[in-house]
């Protein structure tokens, strides 16, 4: 029988789908009997999903940043076009 501590330590592997069927079943049996671990697993899943959604959001970027990037790309473009071709 797994302890609460062991079930908690396996939370990431469980979420990432890396556990054997045997381990998954053992966790399921524990969760059926343990309200605290059920709550923990629910919160853990919630957190990882929130992190994923947070990652989908971008930073707020001012228009001056795009201008700065384009200026550096223009410089690179000019440099590339003025570079003598090989063999000359």
């Amino acid at each position: 029988m797994l302890t609460c501590r062991e079930v908690t330590a396996l939370a990431s592997s469980r979420l990432d789908g890396e556990l054997s069927l045997r381990k998954r079943l053992a966790i399921r049996v524990h969760l059926m009997m343990c309200i605290h671990c059920r709550r923990f697993q629910r919160q853990f899943r919630l957190l990882v999903e929130a992190a994923r959604r947070h990652g989908l959001d971008g930073a707020v970027v001012g228009s001056e940043f795009a201008t700065r990037v384009m200026t550096s790309l223009d410089a690179a473009r000019t440099e590339a076009s003025t570079k003598p071709t090989s063999g000359h």
């Binding site: 302890t3 919630l46 990882v48 930073a59 990037v69 384009m70 790309l73 473009r77």
Partner: protein
Amino acid sequence: MGRGMADGRAFEEEAALIVALKAGDRSAFERAVVRYSPKMIATARAIAGPAVAEDIVQDAWLTVFKQIERFEGRASLATWLSRIVANRAISHLRAHAREVSPSQDQSDGADADAFDRTGSWAVPPTQWNLDSPDALLEAEGLRDCIEQHLLLMPDNQRSVLVLRDMHGAPFEEICNDLGLSASNVRVLLHRARMGLLKMIDHFEVSGEC
């Protein structure tokens, strides 16, 4: 079905954008910079910190400009761009001696006093009022706390968390990017998630970071 059509349109738009980028079309670069930079800066900021994030992304765009011809379309453009940024951000950490090193601490990230000697909860998890991912992210002040927490996290934990949970990178790729073993990446990820969970739990109870 509507979503499928929207996805199809987005795919076609991206394919057209990639063709234009490969042709060196300036306006295509301008569109791409405006469209993709927010996510790229978020990635750079999460890994290397806010002070250098914009510089890292600016450099990344130069790399894109020089290497777009080699882009084979195996991943989406957004994913390819994110990986360029992540690699640059990690290189920056290394160059500034904030070594992305294997974790010496192999513990499971749980509070020592959260469990009793038999391994049962001594301090069970508290009930959260925020019960959905969106509720978590929209809670007044919590998003700032998460950002703060990310910045204070050990570099290697943060890199793994950002690459895996925020960008969905495969474990194998994370191991390669960070030069860490598969088991170490998993330990770091679990510790990072546990740390974040503890922080949110504290926020739920106290309303503070």
